[in-house]
């Protein structure tokens, strides 16, 4: 499998409303090639809507302009990983990982899938049904399925938020390792996750959201949870988000 050439993407829109609610004004941000961009903000701010638009899951959106660095359309070049693992309960772990190929009636090299499943520690579980796996295992299967799609752009919507703290950190490490050559858009409400994985962090906290200068953590991902600077920055982000969500409630 030759991974497709990685690309950067720019996303621009004057305004974006959901029904009568104005969610965003002056959207203008770039997903840089091989970088992880994070959208960090509280629930309900419109992060998921924005990601779904980039993923092409919202029909009839005209005012959002998405441009790729190679001037080709983005459609068909993204892989999507959601908060729920979305494993099909009637398929085994291996078949779930290969579902994209089945849906497109493509030939598939199973050895790649087996290799990846081994890397995430699931080689014993390839024939298991999802129901008997733990939440963390299921999300690892979802991660392998996402990687198998072999797309240059990965869109992740709070993929680790249903996991316990320890599984979450493991998953973050695994994802950072396996998706190091991808252009990633990660949505999260967890400042620690954004700081560990993000190369640029956009903070979405107002209504409507205005894009300001992103936070640019130093060092390479996944950043260590014991890094003092990281912990200080987490405290700053939490303060910033909690004051903003107070405004939102009034």
């Amino acid at each position: 499998m030759n991974p497709e050439q990685s690309i950067s993407i720019s996303i621009k829109a004057d305004r974006l409303a959901f029904g009568a609610v104005l969610l965003f004004e002056n959207i203008d941000f770039t997903l840089n090639k091989n970088e992880w961009s994070c959208l960090l903000g509280p629930s309900g701010v419109g992060k998921t809507t924005l990601l779904r638009i980039v993923a092409g899951l919202v029909p009839n959106i005209q005012n959002v302009i998405i441009t790729c660095s190679d001037n080709k359309p983005l459609s068909g070049r993204t892989a999507y990983m959601a908060q729920e693992d979305l494993l099909l309960p009637w398929l085994s772990v291996l078949d779930n990982v290969l579902i994209g190929f089945k849906l497109r009636s493509e030939m598939v090299d199973k050895s790649e899938a087996l290799k990846l499943l081994k890397m995430v520690g699931l080689s014993q579980n390839i024939n298991d049904l999802p129901a008997i796996l733990s939440g963390g295992m299921r999300q690892r299967v979802a991660l392998v399925r996402t990687i198998m799609e072999n797309r240059p752009v990965i869109l992740m919507d709070e993929p680790f938020s249903n996991l316990d703290a320890i599984s979450r950190i493991r998953m973050q490490d695994m994802a950072a390792d396996l998706l190091s050559d991808k252009t990633v858009l990660l949505i999260t409400h967890d400042p620690m996750e954004a700081l560990r994985l993000g190369d640029r962090i956009h903070i979405l906290s107002d209504r409507p959201v205005k894009f300001t200068n992103p936070v640019l953590p130093e060092g390479t991902r996944p950043r260590s949870i014991t890094d003092v600077e990281l912990l200080k920055e987490q405290a700053r982000l939490l303060t910033r988000l909690s004051t903003a969500s107070k405004l939102d409630l009034t």
């Binding site: 779904r52 993923a55 899951l57 068909g76 979305l86 099909l88 579902i99 089945k102 849906l103």
Partner: protein, 254 residues
């Protein structure tokens, strides 16, 4: 172990039956005793079995054809949205007219033979299967559909690999209801006009005051309906081994 409780229930029911006869001294031509029903069943075994096989064929054929038609209708309704405006009225009309009222017409059109009874069973079975399967197809987890969309799946392969499997548990509950209703169609058809089948045998015995034979036919009908239901139910369980409800039960049984 699983057989013990149903057997107990059956024994208690038989006991109550016998008690009513002893306490009220009701004459045997109104309510025969369990023993005389068993006796009649054995005495007329050949005739009862012959007629039972006809009724069984009607029920099973009705179930197969009704399920097939219902399944196809649900798929068409779900795949071609405009078809809903055309098919839905037919579906509703097919249920607005009671099947019992249609029975004489079906017998008139399709004759006294087995065909009119199968048609009755099909009419009864078609609706629950269609509605349950269509509901299942409509309610696919939106996340699965999003995933399929980002994987560039065609409408057809999304239907085949995601929507249909996801709708199978709903289809199965429709099929269970249909299986329980299948005997109604066959028997009503036989009552309206026939020369064979358990329904016919019951009417025939009733006319000759052979109440024990009537009860014997009823007994065999009940046994057949129960066996049919459990056969369908256990095959569905085996097919849908992955469905959350079944996995939950397996966990409980462990």
């Amino acid at each position: 172990m699983r057989i013990i409780k149903p057997t107990l229930v059956l024994l208690v029911l038989l006991l109550i039956w016998q008690l009513i006869i002893i306490l009220t001294s009701v004459p045997p031509y109104i309510l025969p005793s369990p023993f005389s029903v068993v006796e009649a069943t054995l005495a007329h075994a050949d005739i009862i079995l012959e007629n039972a096989s006809i009724t069984l064929i009607e029920m099973v054929a009705g179930l197969i054809i009704g399920t097939f038609l219902g399944g196809c209708s649900a798929l068409i309704l779900s795949y071609y949205r405009p078809s809903q405006q055309w098919l839905m009225p037919i579906l509703v009309i097919s249920q607005a007219i009671p099947v019992f009222a249609l029975a004489p017409i079906l017998v008139l059109w399709l004759g006294y033979g087995i065909i009119s009874k199968i048609a009755m069973a099909v009419l009864i079975i078609y609706f629950p299967v269609t509605v349950a399967f269509f509901d299942g197809l409509k309610n696919t987890n939106l996340g699965y559909l999003d995933l399929a969309h980002t994987m560039n799946a065609s409408k057809y392969s999304t239907l085949m690999h995601i929507k249909i499997p996801a709708a199978l548990p709903a289809f199965a509950s429709g099929l269970r209801v249909a299986t329980a209703m299948a005997p109604i169609g066959a028997i009503v058809g036989e009552w309206v006009g026939s020369s064979e089948g358990l329904g016919y045998l019951m009417l025939h015995a009733n006319g000759r005051m052979q109440i024990d034979v009537m009860f014997a036919a009823l007994l065999i009908l009940a046994v057949m309906a129960i066996i049919l239901y459990y056969t369908v139910d256990s095959s569905l369980r085996r097919l849908l081994f992955w469905s959350p409800e079944i996995q939950l039960n397996q966990l409980k049984e462990r």
